[in-house]
């Protein structure tokens, strides 16, 4: 069997940088999975990607499928042959189904009896033929969130496909897809390079390099890094490399050349974030700083091309940045003319959502929730006053020109302006921090005021959208409600706030909506939906703690009102499961809980009806445990609560050993079930033990 290397390249008009890595990973995965499914062996593979191409080279691919031998067992001989040794209809049927004649059937032993067997042999197809036939649907199966059509074609892809290169050893495979037929040709850099005739997949990387394309992503990224280091040495400044920006730039160029530009020093009086955002987000420049970490009036841009006429490119970029910074300064100066209270008043004119009114309306709801929360948390007078003020102004920067122009500076500008206008530092901080966390892994509010406003803001967003029936489904969560729910739990845990329950928070926000007649559904159904909306977020937090899944299911099953309590119970339960004694505890509780399901709802335990010693003991023990459970809940002592339940279990076991529950006499039986329901109620304060999985 001979082997060949396989090169597949999809030539595309500039792919958005954020989809390149995923696109090429998909291509490699689909190709190698397909080869494996086709039983075609290969050694290894490499991927290549630039803005204009997604490519994979698979090495030492065998040139055909192995032949397939298959053995199928049919009916036993005594059914397949009559007494004279002729094939029966059963045998004929089996042969026909296998695509054979009865003459081709064989007899063989299987587990002490003779059976009819069909042996089928199919010879493997040539890999080339399979590729020719299957690659179009394989390419077509690449999926992007924003597919598009172009020209008169039917294909959807991330951007229009402009060429296909498929090389099987030295042989092109004329695969047809997206209106293109694959050849052995590829293309160099858009401006600097030429068309390339490839003679082997091995030539790919070097041939492209000669035509000004660095196709290996890691190499291209390293090239930029090296250039940045060289510039740092040459100019004696520092270029902090933000990885996201570096990745993006890597996917904006096929051949990188880094160069330094400068801007007027007077712009350094603008807030640092404004300068950085302008350079980084709007222009994809690296900002530059001195040894002391202060911004310098320079930037680094990475050009897609060589070092020709870099002066011209530099001048052009400097002019653009200059214009942008002039704009920013204009907005900054205009914003200075606006007082914070004027800015707040303007929020009444900024729409939040058609049905939910303006940002001003929303601010009123945030003030209400935050005020009530501050009460629940028993914050002191001074802090409560700060919460009140911060809630009122937390969105004011949405009416500044700077945030209108740089939406990503929401909160950042708010803090800056609030400080300048003499707001209390904690209030100013809260204006920025109430937006945290903005994405998974983002930091959380450090100040109490920001944390309170953060809870109120997030809860209002979630509850208000739920109230008008906008609920995330599948991958659709346009208002980031899931992220906000996770943020609420993280803040409650991080602040160690045990006095506020999720339910209180939900009810507060529904109340503020109800007053404005914004509930389109009944409050009860909203509460239920909102509670279950938090469930998966709580689960994710426990999963991040690497708590086993059955423990998570067990604690979540009994409610998540106090996130802190849920986490602590999960930790204790996870630890206890490692102990030898645990199994007996859990068995006792589970047995009692399961039987208790048969109990009548309103039935109370009647001590008079408890005839056996074991059941009298159990009742007494339950009373003792109740007190302990109550105290542990008050003190949020999960370990203590577990111990209390554990101490109850010997009595439970004794009860089951000595007492028959399901007796004939109805009164006795009902009474015993009611007793078990008491146990069940206690156990459910901790977890649903029945969800645990024992090895």
């Amino acid at each position: 069997m001979t082997k060949r290397d396989l090169l597949l390249e999809i030539g595309v008009e500039e792919i958005p940088a954020r989809f390149v890595d995923n696109g090429v990973a998909q291509l490699a995965e689909k190709v190698t999975d397909w080869l494996t499914a086709q039983r075609i062996s290969f050694d290894s593979y490499r991927t290549f990607a630039t803005p204009r191409r997604l490519a994979v080279i698979v090495e030492n691919v065998s040139d055909r499928q192995p032949d397939l031998e298959e053995e199928v067992r049919g009916p036993a001989k005594r059914i397949a042959m009559d007494e004279e040794g002729n094939w029966t209809r059963a045998a004929e049927g089996f042969a026909r189904k296998q695509g054979l004649t009865t003459a081709e059937l064989k007899l063989a032993e299987y587990k002490g009896e003779t059976y009819v067997f069909a042996y089928k042999r199919s010879s493997g197809e040539l890999t080339y033929n399979l590729l020719l036939k299957e690659l179009p649907s394989l390419f077509g199966s690449l999926h992007f969130p924003h597919g598009m059509r172009w020209g008169s074609g039917r294909t959807r892809f991330i951007r229009p496909v402009r060429w296909l290169t498929c090389l099987w050893g030295d042989e092109p495979i004329p695969v047809e897809w997206a209106g293109k037929r694959a050849t052995n040709k590829t293309y160099g850099h858009r401006f600097l390079g030429q068309e390339i005739m490839l003679t082997s997949p091995n030539d790919y990387l070097e041939a492209l390099r000669e035509e000004w394309v660095i196709a290996d992503v890691t190499e291209r990224k390293q090239m930029i890094r090296d250039q940045l280091t060289a510039l740092e040495e040459e100019h004696q400044f520092r270029i902090p490399v933000e990885e996201d920006l570096l990745n993006e730039i890597t996917h904006l160029v096929e051949y990188p050349t880094s160069l330094v530009g400068r801007f007027q020093e007077e712009f350094l009086t603008l807030p640092k974030e404004v300068l950085i955002t302008t350079m980084r987000e709007h222009q994809r420049y690296f900002p530059v700083e001195g040894e002391d970490g202060r911004l310098l009036p320079y930037f680094v841009t990475v050009r897609n091309g060589d070092a020709t006429a870099t002066d011209l490119v530099r001048k052009g970029n400097e002019k653009v940045l200059q214009a942008r910074l002039s704009d920013a300064r204009f907005f900054y100066e205009e914003d200075q003319k606006l007082s914070i209270d004027e800015a707040v008043a303007r929020l009444d004119q900024v729409i939040f959502h058609d049905e939910l009114g303006s940002i001003g309306d929303r601010t009123q709801r945030i003030v209400f929730i935050a005020r009530e929360l501050a009460q629940l948390l028993e914050l002191d007078e001074v802090t409560r006053a700060k919460v009140e003020r911060a809630a009122k102004i937390c969105k004011f920067d949405l009416s500044t020109q700077m945030v209108d122009e740089f939406p990503e500076l929401e909160g950042v500008m708010g803090e800056e302006y609030a400080r300048q206008k003499g707001e209390d530092p904690e209030v100013a901080l809260a204006v920025r921090e109430h937006l945290l966390p903005r994405f998974p892994g983002d930091s959380l509010p450090t100040g109490v005021v920001g944390a309170v406003i953060g809870l109120a803001d997030k809860m209002d967003t979630i509850a208000s959208f739920f109230a008008i029936g906008i609920v995330p489904t599948g991958s659709q969560d346009p208002y980031g409600l899931r992220r906000r729910a996770a943020g609420i739990l993280q803040i409650l845990l991080d602040q160690d706030w045990r006095k506020v329950s999720l339910k209180q928070l939900i009810l507060l926000s529904l109340k503020s909506l109800e007053e404005k007649d914004l509930l389109q559904r009944s409050r009860e159904s909203l509460v239920a939906d909102l509670e279950s909306f938090f469930m998966p977020r709580m689960k994710a937090i426990l999963q991040d703690e690497e708590i086993r899944y059955d423990v998570i299911d067990a604690v979540l099953a009994v409610g998540i009102h106090y996130p802190h309590w849920v986490v602590e119970k999960a930790r204790v339960l996870a630890a206890q499961m490692e102990e030898e004694a645990f199994k007996s505890v859990a068995e006792g509780l589970i047995r009692a809980t399961n039987l208790a399901q048969k109990a009548e709802e309103d039935r109370q335990v009647d001590p008079e009806l408890l005839t056996e010693e074991a059941e009298q003991n159990l009742l007494q023990k339950i009373e003792e445990t109740k007190e302990m459970v109550h105290r542990c809940q008050e003190e949020r002592d999960a370990a203590g609560l577990y111990d209390a339940l554990a101490q109850l279990t010997p009595t439970i076991h004794q009860f089951f050993d000595d007492v028959m529950v399901m007796v004939e006499e109805e009164e006795i039986r009902a009474n015993r079930l009611a007793l078990l329901r008491e146990v069940s109620t206690l156990a459910n304060q901790f977890a649903d033990f029945d969800k645990l999985v024992f090895s």
């Binding site: 500039e14 954020r18 598009m148 229009p160 303006s358």
Partner: protein
């Protein structure tokens, strides 16, 4: 290269590529896309290639002629090609060369930018084209126009003439641009910029404008009932411009705003539907015989 030479260069370049040089529309538009030569012609199966300058009015962007970059009315050079040609990127880059921009001397990039005009029910995917870090062209493959999926897909290229001119002439203010020797942009547009800004922000008669909006809307609906698509569409454009004037005057509250936009969008959708229906009734005249039978 002065502004006039730029326009001539682009016109002659795109004429050479098979585009019909149609002219700016005579009803106020906010962008070249809204000219019926793009908005309506992008719909349906008929091929269509056209180019034109579009003076685009954006009342809220008016700055009394005081801001060097923002103006009440800027100029777009608009190209529309349906179906989008296979080598459209190369053709486009050729147009930059025609403006004297040598790609080897500059950094030219295609940076993701997905364009959307919700008021007109239009959306597309593509890029902004960066020339040494400056956005000079919006490059869009339409996917939806007037709420209808388009097939075949048109490509729309929108050059910002003032921006490009600032770059080519190395000027800081649009008013200093040379339009033709001896005549600056300011000579032509400074007074109208001031007066339109003053009108839009301070002097417009809100009651009249509200009344006009309603009247235009009513007339658009009536005319569309009669299947007079182009006549109806003109009134949609008038609605849109009237809305923009009211918006600049801050006469429309945040809550009402969405409602007005939805009214314009509804009209735009009706036009799109009616246009396709009428073209079909006419037998899609721009389709060649062979293409018709394929369909």
């Amino acid at each position: 290269m002065n502004v006039q030479e730029m326009i001539l260069a682009l016109q002659s370049y795109w004429a050479d590529k098979g585009c019909a040089l149609v002219q700016p529309y005579d009803v106020e538009t906010g962008a070249g896309t809204m000219n019926p030569m793009t908005f309506l012609r992008a719909l349906g199966p008929e091929p269509w290639n056209a180019a034109y300058v579009e003076p685009s009015r954006r009342p809220a962007d008016g700055r009394y002629g005081e801001n060097p970059n923002r103006v009440y009315q800027h100029h777009q050079f608009q190209v529309i090609m349906k179906p989008s040609p296979d080598n459209i990127q190369e053709i486009y880059l050729g147009s930059l060369s025609a403006l004297g921009i040598d790609p080897l001397q500059h950094d030219i990039r295609f940076v993701e930018d997905n364009w959307e005009n919700p008021a007109m029910g239009a959306a597309g995917l593509g890029w902004e084209v960066w020339l040494d870090g400056m956005e000079v062209t919006q490059f869009t493959y339409f996917q939806q126009v007037g709420g209808l999926e388009v097939d075949p897909v048109s490509v729309e290229l929108t050059y910002g003439i003032e921006r490009l001119a600032l770059y080519l002439q190395e000027k800081e203010s649009v008013y200093d641009l040379e339009w033709t020797p001896g005549v600056t942009y300011g000579d032509i547009f400074l007074q109208p910029e001031y007066e339109h800004s003053k009108y839009s922000f301070e002097e417009s008669d809100q009651q009249l404008l509200f009344h006009l909006f309603d009247a235009y809307e009513k007339e658009a609906q009536r005319v569309l009932q009669e299947n007079l698509v182009f006549a109806g569409y003109d009134y949609v454009l008038k609605c849109s411009h009237t809305f923009n004037l009211l918006d600049a005057r801050r006469a429309i509250s945040a809550t009402e705003r969405t409602g007005y936009l939805a009214r314009v969008r509804n009209l735009a959708r009706q036009c799109a539907k009616a246009y396709v229906k009428e073209r079909e009734r006419l037998g899609f005249p721009l389709l060649k015989e062979g293409e018709k039978s394929n369909d």
